[in-house]
Symmetry: C2
Subunit: 381 residues, 2 copies
């Protein structure tokens, strides 16, 4: 069994703990994946990530395909060796990036044609191509190639996108099953991606059609793209009801700490989001509201209240009041910043004078906060 | 004795090993000081610096006075605590920066008036002020406030600058001796700075006058400011002859690895330079020419030839040929990059896609190269 639930679940809508086996080790669910877009979590090394206790990283197929490109990845022997990370890696399919980052993209049944924003060269990303790239990267979890429509989205278009996503998922699965001559299967897993915007019936259709094809896990895509939070939770809850209990469920690109708490309550197992790292680079840090929260959680994790957004606060490090704040962000935190003894006043100074070390220390801190959040959530289930 | 030579020297112009005692520990000479301009070695934390084996850091009085300013430094309890570095720190006097970075500076006998490049505010830096700032910073080695003339420099002006530097050195020493009410002397040392451009007689005059005042050590300033290398070596050799053998000698802002080798041969004990860190940020790495040089040096340091610039080479990491170079920069190096297993191909990729991690790993590598160079030089004396 690739995925094992620690408690059997009668319904799709309750929190759950499990274990997901990959070719690079097992990870306890629910978990959060820090984002190493271009083969590095911005400002941090793979050794830093291991030190923070990250269990799995996410990398971007689109970015790595563009630079350094497949030839380098092949010669490097895959992404793990290239970035020197021995834990599991999930790669997205590139679909989302093709839509959000490329100029002059043209969608067809075949796939998406697009122009490189770096050198203007033309490329075509198809389900077959996306999977083949991910096979070359050697990621532990491969994502099917999907179409993620924007929000808001007319129901007619959302319906077309769901059906195209199903056909692309089928082609993704077929490519995944093919043995590539010089790329042996490395125990990779393939996940399908449920689309359907905020329409419950389309989400149900998408979930049913993907299950008919059969995947190692199911992702919920196309959320947190601008819809109201309540709408996201409703769509998520109804979608989860349509997914099998015995497969891991991955909510893509979500989100704020309170979103993750709520999604775990609803039965999601996997998360990724740029929020902790991107906010860190802009000087915003997450800290537990209670004193010594992290150590409390280690001692008595189940007592920690994680309702709403009340369990944490955000620190704007460039705020004037941090100029003379000679305490670390969180004395119970074990990140490079807090564990290293770097005060808020020092971080404030580093941001004010533009020293990149400030961004690095805050990124490490925020990722640790998210990882600690998952630890607390696991403890609370 | 603050400074102890391991072998007594009959002449001022031969290589020497010694030990310099400071309030934050003793350091073996000759040594190199990585530059933490604004309270951080660019991209690296104090923990990183300790990991690389740096024995002492250099920080800039001018920059720290401008930002975060003295009030913060006072409240922080000094620079060591502010940046969380428990080893020794040397601070420059700010004179060089006032001349090179400030707009609308006006030199007078009193000191230098200048305008902040950040907010346009007017400031005055005098010998008394510079020393008082460094007393607040609590650096282990305080530098006298000097005038560093540009190159080339008319002899008449160089002469005036020498005499002003002597008068300022006297005032620096007087300020240094005063007990500041709320800033107890923390076992700080005060160094004088020899000026005189490339004129041997002016250098001799400057060295004599400073010794008459009396300092814990003597720096040679105003070199590597554009003069030919041979001229720098000649001036350095003649100046060293004028300095007492029993005090540490610090060659400011120099330089390339071969410059350091030559200066150590002539009897210099201390160095600082932005070259390793600045070049790293531009993608240039230093590596030993011999295979396994670093491990060889540990085993048989005296056999290592360090003549000319032949003992090392520079690697331009963005060079196309590094795209598929799946080896570390130097397999015998213990830096964050090489010891961490990050290949040249990965570093190349990080630089090409603009990931700050690349700059960090290369900075760590180059600083380790400079520190290893000093270890090899110590072994060869």
């Amino acid at each position: 069994m690739t995925f094992t639930l620690h408690r059997s679940q009668s319904s799709g809508s309750s929190p759950r703990r499990g274990s997901l086996k990959t070719a690079h080790g097992a990870i306890e669910t629910p978990f959060f994946m820090p984002i190493a877009t271009k083969g590095a979590v911005k400002t941090l090394s793979s050794a830093d990530m291991a030190g923070l206790g990250a269990g799995i990283l996410l990398s971007n197929t689109y970015h790595l395909y563009m630079r350094p490109g497949l030839e380098i990845m092949q010669k490097a022997g895959g992404l793990h060796r290239f970035m020197n990370w021995s834990g599991p890696i999930l790669t997205d399919s590139g679909g989302y990036q093709v839509f959000s980052l490329s100029k002059m993209r043209t969608l067809s049944e075949q796939g998406v044609e697009f122009q490189s924003p770096w050198d203007g060269s033309k490329h075509m990303l198809t389900p077959e191509k996306s999977i083949a790239i991910q096979q070359t990267l050697g990621s532990d979890i491969v994502m099917a190639f999907d179409e993620c429509p924007p929000y808001p989205c007319e129901k007619k278009y959302a319906h077309e996108a769901v059906e195209r996503t199903t056909r692309w998922a089928q082609r993704s699965q077929e490519q995944f099953q093919q043995k590539i001559a010089d790329q042996p299967n490395r125990g990779q897993l393939l996940f399908g991606i449920v689309q359907g915007s905020v329409y419950a019936d389309l989400r149900a259709q998408s979930a049913r059609e993907l299950q008919a094809i059969g995947f190692d896990g199911y992702a919920i895509g196309g959320l947190a793209v601008g819809e109201p939070t309540e709408s996201m939770y409703e769509t998520l809850a109804s979608t989860l009801e349509e997914l099998p209990a015995d497969k891991p469920r991955y909510l893509m690109g979500v989100g704020k700490p309170e979103n993750i708490v709520q999604a775990v309550r609803l039965g999601v197992d996997m998360f990724d989001c740029v929020i902790p790292s991107r906010n860190a680079r802009h000087g915003l840090a997450y800290v537990w509201r209670e004193k010594n929260a992290a150590s409390d959680s280690a001692a008595a994790p189940k007592s920690a209240p994680l309702s709403g957004a009340a369990f944490y606060e955000t620190v704007h490090i460039t705020n004037e009041k941090n100029k003379t704040a000679f305490t670390v962000l969180d004395s119970a935190c074990g990140c490079l910043a807090c564990g290293g003894g770097y005060t808020r006043a020092y971080l404030h100074h580093l941001f004010r004078v533009g020293e990149a070390l400030g961004q690095r220390l805050l990124t490490a801190h925020n990722i640790k906060f998210y990882l600690d959040l998952m630890t607390r959530l696991k403890g609370a289930i």
